[in-house]
Amino acid sequence: MDFRFSDEQRMLVETVRGFIASELAPLEDEIEQTGALRPELARAVFEKSKALGLYGMNIPEEHGGGGLSALDTMLCEEQFGHTTDILIRRAFGNVYEVLLACQGPQVDRWLKPAVSGERVCSIAFTEPGAGSDAAGIRTRARRENGKWILSGMKHFISDGAFSDFFVVTAITDPDKGHRGISMFLVDKGTKGFTVGRDQPMMGIRGTSHLELHFDDVELTDEHLLGVEGQGLKLALSVLGRVRLAQVAARSVGKATKILNMTVDYANDRHQFGQSLGDFQMVQQMLADSAIEINAARTALWECADQIDSGLDPRAKISMLKVQASETLGRVVDRSMQIFGGMGFSKDLPIERYYRDARIYRIFDGASEIHRGVVAKAMLKGGKSVYDPWAA
């Protein structure tokens, strides 16, 4: 067991952290005020980041990515958490590992352009009747004359406005339940595929959340990602790492950034002739936040290390999803309390972080779903989730 960073890890984090602080952070206020990232700025941050090799770092080198291990990905993703969702997407790419299932001509058509940043991909699983219950979808793909005919709708599709293509789940065999669901690669602009309204959200301003409508969209076998009927299985096998990266690691990063600001504020702000940090009740809040962040980060590294060792720590990923997102929620709530009226004011970003934090307990499987995963694993003989020496 070695918790020391290599020179490569240290330098990588320094580059990512420095890039975010000087290139991305200055853009956040405008995005918050206008609700959008100007296209020319989006282009500029993409090009700068790309030149440093920071786009698609999670994807193996043979597909043009950075080839980072799961652990190194988490170190970077924690830093990504210091900025906003839309800037992460444009600068570093949310290149979903599910695309690694691309075969034959799919590689050049979808995988490689997604890794290079030439084309942007969104995941389209969620429907009004199917959120955490990914198998509860109603979108259908029927077989007709050797083609697939896709019909149905999706919603809350993050970054849908910017994306060029989508990974869409659809029922291909209604009699087989979750074993009858497949994934399709659907290009924007395909006949019958229209994007609906952008659904306004409480936080993460600047990222669009679209409705997608599929009205008898004609697809071929080339659009089928992975094996027919194994869409959910494929999703479950690769989305764990995404969840660990985009929810757990970014939550740790956000909580850390917020706590950094709070510690400075507690030192600088004086009331009743002493700094806020001199009040024991404030000290308790600061210490609790530090303790929780530290615990979540260490657990995150361990979980990522298990992925790198070839294990499939699904229950641990669920634990981390809950632990990190709820840590973020508590940390930002305490920080708001310490900042007081200034925290509630829109003159400081604390209120924005507070709004942005809330979704982390909801998306990618609500806390309750993941607690269920953990409990079921424990009850089915998986005591190793909490006792590494368990028989």
Partner: protein, 249 residues
């Protein structure tokens, strides 16, 4: 042309420095350390000279404890070609640093040594000048622009009250000021390549240098806190105070 770039490991510029309780120095335990920002500018300038086809090889040198190899790796990841760590656990003063660097210059025979005008820890601003004296080379200090053409270098210097441009003969020492350039980030591919670049380890004795301190620190103290200001009622009062109390008018 070979370029030598000395880089120093110092307390990161973002760290709020604290004086040790016993006044013996600055607290270094659990403090983030980084490359001296002026040296980072020197590394960047050397890389730009190489990219422009003026320099052919960049050697980064650091003197100090084993951890200084991190600073060298950072220089290698930015674009330096190889590194030399002169390892010592003692505090090394500018004169000893300059003597060690002279030893390396004698061995490596660079035509240009480019380094920070000062390190942000002790702010001594001595190493470059001492090295120039020991070598008998010309020097262009506080550089905000450097042009090298043939056997000459044109250096624009940031001096009190403005800029001074001088022409110096190579080989030369250049010390960098803040406005010379904006250092690049180490890119992911270059970070991975840096691992394979050679890094030699030496000791001060290899260059026959005695690093025993010649200075004695008597006391380290925090600067006095800023005194509270006063509010003035009118411009006339302000001018009066500036004239008669502050004595600045």
């Amino acid at each position: 042309m070979k370029v030598l770039v000395p880089v120093k490991r110092v307390v990161d510029y973002n760290v709020k420095i604290r004086v040790k309780a016993d006044g013996s120095g600055v607290e270094l335990a659990n403090v983030k350390m980084s490359m001296n920002p002026f040296d980072e500018i020197a590394v960047e300038e050397a890389i730009r000279l190489k990219e422009a086809g003026v320099a052919t090889e960049i050697v980064a040198v650091s003197i100090g404890e084993q951890k200084c190899q991190e600073t060298i790796r950072t220089a290698l990841a930015m674009g330096a070609d190889r590194g030399i760590l002169v390892k010592t656990d003692d505090a090394v003063e500018p004169l000893a640093v300059a003597k060690i660097l002279k030893g390396i210059v004698d061995e490596e025979k660079p035509e240009l040594v480019i380094l920070g005008k000062q390190a942000i820890d002790d702010d001594a601003n001595q190493t470059g000048q001492m090295l120039a004296a020991l070598l008998g080379w010309s020097q262009g200090t506080f550089a905000s622009e450097v042009k090298i053409d043939g056997g000459k270098a044109t250096v624009t210097r940031e001096v009190d009250g403005g800029l001074q441009t001088i022409e110096i003969t190579m080989p030369a020492i250049v010390t960098t000021d803040l406005r010379l350039n904006e250092p690049r980030y180490a890119s992911l591919p270059n970070i991975m390549k840096a691992k394979k670049k050679p890094l030699d380890e030496k000791a001060p004795s290899d260059y026959g240098v005695d690093t025993a301190p010649r200075l004695k620190v008597l006391k380290t103290a925090e600067p006095e806190g800023r005194k509270a200001g006063v509010k003035v009622g009118s411009v006339a009062e302000l001018v009066d105070k500036l004239k008669n109390e502050a004595g600045v008018l």
